[in-house]
Symmetry: C2
Subunit: 229 residues, 2 copies
């Protein structure tokens, strides 16, 4: 069931691990990309390596982005801003300017360079932090850029942006990943972990993760890392 090559965006988090597991289950070879951009939670890069290894990816590239980007976000250490929970209504201070646009653009260029037909990204617009670049309207707009702005696109064979999680709840995502054999002990979600990688338990991302495992009715296998303590 070889489906060809796909580029998968792998952050080290639960969603991207699940999206990558979906790509693998559909028979794709996985070319994983992980981005380093001054994030406080850069320990996620080590988790991305574990996930890449677990999923037997064909290659895993770690991309260092220019440090002039993203510095207005509290997720970035250089911002000097504290991580505070969002209000669930407005876009929170953790918003990273155009992050998924940059990630998808680089994935797109890489896909066209290596001849991959699909890009998998674990965006989700149900249990999420309210970022505009996680919504279906954004993905549709980006797909149109692929159609209009790439050689493969105007030749009628555009690279496809796959978002298998976009309309699932966090609980549904976890159940999907477990059904595919994903090991969530290899993932991390906290925006602001302590130096040894222990999650804070109170940031938006920790809380959404906890809600997901609760909905799925199982214990978070990362709890041995004192998740949420």
């Amino acid at each position: 069931m070889a489906a060809g090559n796909s580029v998968v965006l792998l952050s080290g988090g639960l969603d991207s691990a699940t999206a990558a597991a979906v790509a693998k289950s559909r028979g794709f070879s996985l070319f994983a990309l992980t981005f380093v951009y001054g994030q406080r939670h850069d320990i996620e890069v080590e988790f991305a390596r574990k996930i890449a290894n677990f999923l037997s990816v064909t290659s895993h590239e770690i991309i260092h982005l220019p440090d002039i980007l993203f510095k207005s976000s509290s997720l970035v250490r250089a911002s000097g801003k504290a991580i505070v929970p969002g209000d669930g209504v407005t876009i929170p201070a953790t918003y990273v300017p155009a992050r998924n646009i940059v990630f998808l653009s680089i994935a797109l260029s890489y896909a066209e360079t290596i001849g991959a037909s699909h890009i998998f990204i674990g965006v989700n617009a149900v249990d999420y932090s309210g970022y505009p670049d996680c919504r279906p309207e954004f993905i549709e707009a980006f797909q149109n850029v692929v159609q209009m702005g790439t050689k493969s696109g105007i030749q009628g064979n555009p690279i496809i942006i796959e978002t298998p999680l976009i309309r699932l709840t966090k609980g549904e995502i976890i159940k999907l990943g477990l059904s595919l054999g994903m090991d969530y002990s290899l993932t991390t979600s906290c925006y602001n972990p302590s130096g040894d990688g222990i999650p804070c338990g109170v940031c938006d991302s920790c809380r959404i993760r906890q809600k997901g495992f609760s909905e799925a009715g199982i214990q978070d296998p990362a709890l041995h890392r004192n998740y949420g303590k």
Copy 2:
């Protein structure tokens, strides 16, 4: 006539220099970005520095892109491919996968990070090499991504992609730049210059430049570099 801050994509070529001069003439402060991506003509980065200096930009950042990108293009040294003129119908081998998508995405993130309201890019769809990411349809699609995928966009104040040259001939671009005081001796266009920066005179970009100066009825001030010899 302060118009605020703009990000300008500055390659070292004639078009981007003109687009930057337009931005300056409209009263914008210029935050220039130049990309290094293994291009054969990386001497253009030195020309970009000269142009940035000439236009008194507020800042000029040189961005090194990951070397896994773009390697299928003959413009990139690591491709091992020779530069050959295009046929004017199909997309030529100099096509760089998703180049302007990557450039605009990084410019967009930078603009939103620093609070710039406009991005100037010197794309042109008249006298050009046939790249899909230089056409108005692509720019419109990318503008829609800004609307859908950024905080400023969904808050009704999207960053504007400015393409002041998109429907001009090369001759018109040169006349526009000269009317704004641009010094084209500071620009380079050749895809495949010799080690000391002397243009080949036969690549698509050299030929389009020569045609432009011929149409404008003036001599290319870069001819002192033996342009085209």
